[in-house]
Symmetry: C2
Subunit: 265 residues, 2 copies
């Protein structure tokens, strides 16, 4: 195991100082790219950092496990945290600044304001996690005020989340360009995710069935199939051994919807 | 009647160009003050402009009658509008830029996002105008994204509104300093308001009873009276001839609350 060196990357815990640093960079004529994360960084996050590094003069990453997007029975307490390793990875990558605030720096005492993006947050994951997208929209808006970057980068893995953020930013006239970047996958097709750490070796093996099922769905859609029921039926055998909740089936419809939208435009 | 000259003040209808202008000014080292208005400017608005002119290098005023803060039975259609005269006044005052967008520049097609500031919007005016403060908080946040000024100026006349805006800006980490400036009154004590134009000469005369009643309340509070019921009872005779709705009584309690808060701190 390689020894973790103490990173020398600039780390800010203060919202005001972070905002000041971003503005100073912009006043010096630099473009700033922003990658909001909850830490426990993997190649998916780093691909967003790379996209920002390629397009912007300076890249800032936030590491903040946002409590308001977790439901009461969800994994806030056990969500994986690895700040030292995250900082080392970001330093190696050439990141400029990390905003890693304590909770009270983001949520002041007495805070009550929330953001509701409307219908895009209601179906799919919004159904099974009723407060999730309100928490996401609110914290991303807050981070956009603290980090008034030129561009912000999100992963397509959280597809509905990317729709929620686009809706929020466009509706509220936030002057930050939203970039949504491709999913990064494990060799067997499973999307990289901090929460993959929760899977036992057996579950991890079975989880690739998800990707195989999605590939089948993709093929069917490409061949012109438009019935979610038909697509779902053909995916089922591959998901037999996966402990997957029904909401995952619904996401297929989201993909279909996106494709049919594209076709229409 | 003096002839209205065509104003030469810079007027922008584009959100993007306005944002760009504010940033360019800041990048040139100038501080920017922002006065959001719904037009029909009077001495109250102009006192906010003056406060901004005194504290900031450049002052930008928005003129936008925001449809989402009017209830279905309210006066959106008939709200007084006087753009030419407003521009002339602002030019005379030494204002830098006026943002006067059409509705569709502020609310894009398909917009659904709204901001809820929580408990501060519920009592008093929030009771009689249930969607009002949501509309106010949302449009002010939007204007703050379009006009990323250093300071923004609001009148204390709309006292609960100022609390709503402070709550929104603080909760969402908006990096704009909120300034709340004193009420400007007519010689007989009535607060200056664009909606005073709705009053008939008889109503206008009677309306000064409001101010007289408030003065009595102020005196009682200064003398140590803390019972809203007692204060209300003593105000009543002065309001007998005023066509005033019961919510106005409730605002007395808001004043008392503010004072008692101050006393405690």
């Amino acid at each position: 195991m390689s020894k973790i060196k103490s990173p020398t990357i600039r780390v800010e815990t203060s919202a005001a100082k972070t905002c000041e640093a971003v503005r100073a960079a912009q006043q010096a004529g630099k473009t700033v790219g922003f990658v909001p994360t909850m830490g426990a960084l993997h190649e998916g996050h780093l691909s967003l950092v790379d996209a920002s590094l390629a397009e912007c003069d300076k890249t800032i990453v936030s590491i903040f496990v946002n409590p308001t997007q977790f439901g009461p029975d969800e994994d806030l307490k056990n969500y994986p945290r690895s700040l030292d390793r995250d900082l080392e990875l970001l330093e190696q990558r050439g990141c400029w600044l990390v905003f890693a605030p304590p909770v009270e720096e983001v949520y002041r005492e007495g805070h009550e304001t929330s953001v509701d993006v409307g219908s895009v947050a209601l179906p799919w994951e919004g159904k099974s996690r009723p407060d999730h997208f309100g928490g996401v929209a609110t914290v991303v808006l807050k981070l956009f005020q603290i980090v008034p970057a030129d561009r912000a980068y999100f992963g397509q893995k959280d597809y509905q989340q990317s729709l929620v953020i686009r809706q929020m930013a466009a509706d509220l006239n936030v002057p930050i360009e939203i970039r949504v970047c491709p999913i990064v996958r494990e060799p067997d097709g499973l999307a990289k995710s901090s929460r993959n750490a929760y899977l036992s070796p057996e579950e991890r093996k079975q989880a690739s069935g998800l990707w195989q099922a999605l590939k089948i769905a993709e093929t069917l859609v490409a061949e012109g199939e438009t019935s979610a029921a038909v697509i779902t039926e053909k995916m089922k055998p591959l998901l037999e051994h996966v402990d997957v909740e029904s909401r995952c089936f619904e996401r297929v419809r989201s993909t279909k919807w996106r494709r049919s939208q594209k076709r229409r435009s």
